[in-house]
């Protein structure tokens, strides 16, 4: 592998060896995508079996003495550049995990979550939490065990948070939420008191034809400058992104044939995730720097949320897509850009996180955070979840789901074993506020850019230069410091919200 970024001979040996792990990860990602998109239902048990074996195999290959001693040797090398240091940082994190988690544990974790994922889908369709309950019980117990294996300083939940955001602690998340809770409540109460406040928009009731909506989604991707030779859009029970390689990105959306914004924003959100990884420097291909485990999920979410909210929910985007959107249903002709804008930015307490508005969104995440923390502490039992879920929605948002489908069963994460992931949604969203601020400082008003001929491309180039190209080279905190010369702070996003919603309401 001749590559200008990596000069150190030990790093080169590491990357040579690593290529096999990359290949396993590549196939694993594909198999995960397939599981949720095209796999015939009955394939699930065998797929779980395969994941379990591959997980054990990857661990074994990683823990090979030769490789481990290369990693340890590389640590003490002088004059490593940032990319090389990033590689060592990421590999050491994996190494630590692999050394701590027994192979049997990983195998069980994979097997349980593969099955649980399928059961969750069924449970959600049938609105039957009791189907999913025993699996979630197993997953929570496995996560508690995982935290014990991994170890933690403060709270067992720290061990899980760290998996998604390097170094993130329960204490930090608590501080973050407590710093945004009151300001968000204030904005929400301003909106609720506005004469323009309403809890329903007629557009959400407009039905659409799935084919037409697929067309709108594809047109949206075109508007956002996607490359169909590198990215595909499919359908799944819950939208997600899988980056299978630097040149192969898969996103999914959903269609329920009314409330078209739900399908549209899922597409844009996932596109943001895919764009991030598609703009990695091609020189980091096949290295740990493009491995998902080395990425900050807050950065990842900042990208999806940036495209979803700061591009997709603007008048300029709606203007550009207006003609396509009107095509989904003849009734829509009567809605002008302004009205669609109001629909896209309707703030109201609602039940589904992924459809929530920009303001109340974070209360959904706070609820998840409290529940996950409680589950990890053993203070909340899985069997009580539907009840607790509903109580918390009542408390935070003043509304209660009528069914578990729109309550505790709504999200895919737990079924995949992803406990500790949710806080990065809020942190990432707040990071997108900082990013918007920096883009506008550097290349001008986002609205104007969206309107201008190559504005989307300019935004993407900027994101590539400041954020994307590096992959996992830096942690979130390091990258913010390096690219923007400052620390992450929630204030930018709060200012953005305040300004925007005082205009809307």
């Amino acid at each position: 592998m001749e590559n200008a970024l990596f000069k150190n001979p030990i790093i080169k040996q590491i990357l040579d060896y690593y290529a096999t792990l990359w290949a396993l990860d590549h196939l694993n990602s594909l198999a995960g995508w397939d599981l949720r998109t095209y796999m015939p239902k009955e394939g699930v048990v065998d797929r779980g079996e395969a994941f379990a074996k591959i997980s054990t195999l990857s661990q074994k290959i990683f823990l090979d003495n030769k490789f481990v001693s290369l990693i340890k040797k590389a640590e003490n090398e002088p004059d490593l550049n940032s990319y090389e240091k990033g590689i060592i940082r990421i590999l050491k994190r994996s190494l630590e995990k692999y050394e701590k988690l027994p192979p049997e544990f990983l195998e069980e974790f994979d097997k349980v979550t593969t099955e649980a994922n399928n059961v969750w889908e069924k449970a959600k369709i049938e609105n039957n939490f009791s189907l999913f309950e025993p699996y979630l019980e197993k997953i929570v117990n496995l996560c508690i065990k995982k935290a014990e294996y991994l170890g933690y300083k403060g709270h067992p939940y720290d061990a899980l948070l760290d998996e998604y955001e390097e170094g993130l602690t329960t204490k930090e998340v608590e501080e973050f939420f407590s710093s945004i809770k009151e300001p968000l409540k204030k904005i929400l109460s301003y909106i609720k008191n506005s004469s323009r406040y309403k809890t329903e928009h007629p557009l959400s009731l407009e039905k659409y034809d799935k084919k037409e909506m697929e067309n709108v989604n594809l047109k949206t991707l075109e508007f956002l400058n996607y490359d169909p030779k590198k990215l595909r859009l499919d359908v799944s029970a819950h939208p997600f992104t899988t980056n299978i390689s630097l040149n192969d990105h898969r996103i999914t959306t959903w269609y329920r044939e009314n409330d078209f914004a739900r399908s549209l924003f899922a597409t844009i959100h996932e596109y943001g995730h895919a764009l991030y990884e598609s703009q990695f420097d091609s020189k980091i291909n096949y290295t740990p720097l493009c491995n998902f485990s080395g990425l900050s999920l807050s950065i990842h979410e900042s990208q999806s949320r940036f495209w979803e909210n700061m591009i997709g929910r603007t008048k300029q985007f709606i203007h550009g897509m207006h003609k396509s959107i009107l095509g989904i249903n003849p009734n829509l002709v009567k809605y002008n850009v302004e009205e669609i804008y109001n629909y896209f930015n309707l703030v109201k307490p609602s039940l589904i996180r992924v459809e929530a508005d920009e303001v109340s969104y974070h209360f959904h995440v706070m609820i998840r955070f409290e529940i996950e923390k409680g589950l990890m502490e053993g203070k909340i039992k899985v069997k009580d979840l539907p009840k607790i879920w509903n109580e918390k929605y009542k408390e935070y948002l003043g509304i209660e789901p009528k069914t578990d489908r729109e309550g505790v069963l709504q999200d895919v994460h737990w079924s995949s074993g992803s406990i500790g992931y949710f806080p990065t949604y809020s942190i990432g969203t707040f990071l997108s506020g900082l990013i918007k601020y920096e883009i506008e400082k550097d290349i001008g008003d986002l609205g104007n850019l969206i309107k201008s001929e190559d504005g989307i491309k300019k935004i993407q180039d900027w994101l590539k230069e400041k954020i994307h190209q590096y992959g996992g080279t830096y942690t979130m905190k390091e990258l913010v410091k390096k690219s923007f010369g400052k620390d992450f702070s929630p204030s930018y996003f709060l200012s953005y919200l305040e300004k925007k919603y005082k205009e809307v309401y």
Copy 2:
């Protein structure tokens, strides 16, 4: 793994170890399917890289001393049952190959064929052999090298034939073809002299809507008793089957919007392949007995050709599917079962093997055989292929392709490195004649079975009992002997052809 079939403790250890190889193979199959169905085009280089690494890894895992000595130890175990013996037979074959083929060679082979597959698709679409030529050149050279590595007694082509049909030699193939050539010519000349002979059928010109044809294909699968929870139908440049696990089968077909038989029979053909592996005894799951490398491709092809010709091309099948077929185009209403039957069984020299009638089909395969043999001997050069191809079609079938798309570029096999595969198509087809004879002896006339309510199921149960359940436990010759108490002979198929086409013409 507690399993009634495998009692021997060494075999049990072997299977435990083998499960990882099974998992790699599972993911590999999926990645191959994805490459030809849904993968974004630009993903191809990285996919090739992954295949190459996984191929090397599989070899390394296979050649682990511990595993190799288990295989060698198991060979000398007394009282192994047939399944256990089958496992050892298959593993020894792989072992021999792995020991003989250097990992760098396998890696290169994978990389070249992954790219070549994509280039072939493009070359075929653009009707441009010169695009594909350098890749095919590489593949032929790699195959020559492969034969040298593997070794052979008689002819270098033997080494390749053996990869697809255990023990098959160039000499045997030559004998087989020379025994069927004259009888086939006789049948063909009978047909050509019949007053009913024609080279065109109006149905082949009827256009269809792709959506409607998809529906016919799915209805056909329903008629043939498929399980949608275990099998899916997609679209690809060349129809193929991938059996991803015992419970996950993927077949593809193609649509070119006229000549609907082409799409229909591709579907049925591939379904035959999938059905075979879907009826393996579930107890052989995760073992070498269900690994593709352990299967006789003649048996595999006997299944696809059986369903395609002996079920799909019957009046009873057409009767059952008549209503669906009429739906593809309002013009079709005027065609009754008899006319569709004549269309499905129109014998005429044609250019495309997969669309060829049951009689002239084998001349296509003879041409391939002669060309492949010549390529391996170095007597035929890749650059001369379009010319030689056309000459041979002139000689054997009296017609010449106007484009390479319908000539030398028509089939996917060479681009995947599959040289030596084609003869199994003919041998398999002739085996299907023996199978038809045996089914009818045991459970009655096929036509009556297709008409009767659970007849398809009865045929499938019979196939499961006599052939499918065993997976790779026996070689083709062994299985024919065991299940039917006789040796394979081409005479059954020749009698079937003669009887059928003397009725049709």
